[in-house]
């Protein structure tokens, strides 16, 4: 009999094929170069789409003149305070709603009926109540942050393995320690999911509120230069916002890795 050899090869090798690390940079770089070329050869007027190099130069000038500094600090002030208030209250209320049955029965329907309202629609009301100043803008950001955080914290509490609560009680925990040592750490992964979601929301609300009612801030700056059709300065504003979002996400990720080293 003829002995024929058929080697069996790994037919799922494509599943663990490695992609070189620089692939993601190449994508962004390629896009920027393409953009630069399109602007340079004048396919699109710089009024509509200024070249990346021009945006950078404009940005540098605005940085030196202090224009960015003033607007950025105004925006940072609003978003940091609004985000902090909204997330702290969201976590506290989420824990309470999740842990106490009565609070759940009373509070959860209220939360879910306010949650779907697009928060920016409430800005005129807040301006009426709180004035056109900082308070109404901070409040709307806090409110926008509060809801995703409260809802995620709530489901985080619900997702804590009841066995762990039983274990804690068995080994002597009272109710406060059950919340502190089991419910809180157990819901942290979900809380962070909420915080990340809220980061996007807060940025959106910041810009919208500033476009509607502010003299200072990145949002009003973008709108201002849009009205004046100074596109390169407008784009600098957009660039700052995207960097802000990026930093925000990175910061949260860093915090998450620090606080949840035990996560799978």
């Amino acid at each position: 009999m003829d002995k024929q050899k058929k080697v069996i090869t790994n037919r799922v090798a494509f599943l663990d094929k490695k992609v070189p690390f620089y692939a993601s940079f190449v994508g962004i770089l390629g896009l920027l170069i393409l953009w630069e070329i399109i602007s340079r050869i004048g396919i699109v007027s710089p009024l509509f789409l200024p070249a990346p190099s021009e945006i950078i130069v404009t940005g540098w000038q605005m940085l030196v003149s202090g224009e960015i500094y003033g607007n950025l600090t105004a925006s940072l002030y609003r978003i940091v305070i609004g985000y902090a208030i909204g997330s702290v209250l969201g976590i506290i209320f989420g824990l309470i709603l999740g842990f106490f049955k009565l609070a759940d029965a009373v509070g959860t329907p209220i939360v879910y009926s306010i949650y779907p309202i697009p928060k920016i629609a409430l800005l005129p009301l807040f301006i009426l109540w709180l004035g056109i100043g900082e308070l109404s803008k901070v409040t709307i950001i806090a409110l926008g942050v509060f809801f995703p955080v409260v809802i995620n914290t709530f489901s985080g509490v619900k997702s804590v393995d009841p066995m762990l609560v039983k274990a804690a009680v068995t080994f002597g925990s009272n109710r406060v320690n059950v919340i502190r040592k089991v419910i809180l750490p157990g819901s942290l992964p979900m809380i962070f999911a909420g915080l990340k979601l809220a980061a996007g929301t807060s940025l959106l609300l910041l810009v919208s509120a500033e476009m509607i009612a502010a003299q200072e801030g990145i949002g009003s700056m973008v709108l201002h230069y849009g009205n004046l059709m100074i596109t390169s300065k407008l784009m600098v504003g957009v660039l700052i916002l995207s960097l802000l979002g990026l930093t925000f996400n990175r910061g949260l990720k860093w915090l998450e890795n620090r606080l949840i080293p035990w996560k799978e």
Binding site: D161, V169, T170, G172
Partner: protein
């Protein structure tokens, strides 16, 4: 000191609003330095009974109490079937959980924690998180956590059922070694007959639907070396006796 389980019964209401009698008329006691094993087919109410004894479930009737105890509150240690280690705590932090809650001074916590971690052979993994441990190591950490509170009653619910056969055999041996050092009053739940005969001073055989005590069998074998040649035959006679008692119920359980 002994623990008395008196006329305990438990009825659940299932989702279709039917009453399910999980336990009926359970009477027995766990004596000083006694290792009692509860054995029965799955669904016979072993976990339910263990949870009632552990104060994690109220009985529908009857009661559980400690007799001849001088201090105020008896101390319980439970090793859970689901292990239930806190994922956000390292092995060491898990083991000292009960000591922390008792308010022991830090130095004492470290001393006792290290002692029991060493006893279960996890010294090299003190600072590891549960996710970094194998199944057997997790369960050892769970055992150390329960031992560390030096409980008046140790409860164990099928602690080795999720382990592979070889690991399980080793863990059973280790458990006996540890038990011989601590001599804790123990209630151990398993569906594994060989395990019951290997570990128990007394085996309590439960029937199913409703969960009732079928028979209580004293295992008249030395506590160590039950796997040795000379005791093989006697062990397997005990195992056979238990199997005859629960065979029918186990077959019924299979049909569900």
């Amino acid at each position: 000191m002994s623990i008395v389980i008196e006329n305990v019964g438990k009825t659940f209401i299932d989702p279709k609003k039917n009453e399910v009698t999980a336990l009926e008329n359970i009477n027995f006691s766990i004596n000083e330095e006694e290792f009692v094993v509860l054995v029965g087919p799955s669904g016979c109410g072993k976990s339910t009974l263990l949870n009632i004894v552990g104060g994690l479930l109220s009985p529908t009737s009857g009661s559980v109490y400690f007799e001849g105890i001088t201090e105020k509150n008896p101390n319980l240690g439970i090793v859970f079937q689901e292990i239930a280690l806190f994922p956000w705590r390292t092995v060491f932090q898990n083991v000292i959980y009960g000591l922390e809650e008792k308010g022991l001074p830090k130095k004492k916590q470290i001393e006792i924690g290290n002692y029991y971690i060493d006893m279960v052979g996890l010294s090299d993994f003190k600072d590891a998180y549960p996710k970094q441990l194998s199944g057997g190591m997790k369960q050892r950490a769970g055992i150390a956590r329960a031992l560390a509170v030096e409980p008046d009653l140790l409860l164990m619910d099928e602690p080795f059922s999720a382990l592979d056969a070889q690991t399980r055999t080793l863990m059973q041996e280790e458990l006996l070694t540890i038990w011989n050092r601590t001599k804790l009053n123990t209630l151990y739940v398993t569906h594994n007959i060989q395990e019951a005969v290997y570990l128990a001073d007394r085996v309590i055989v439960l029937s199913r639907h409703p969960g009732k005590i079928k028979r209580i069998i004293s295992i008249d074998l030395p506590k160590t070396g039950r796997n040795d040649e000379e005791y093989r035959e006697k062990s397997s006679r005990y195992a056979d006796e238990i199997w005859q008692l629960i065979r029918h119920d186990a077959e019924e359980a299979l049909k569900e």
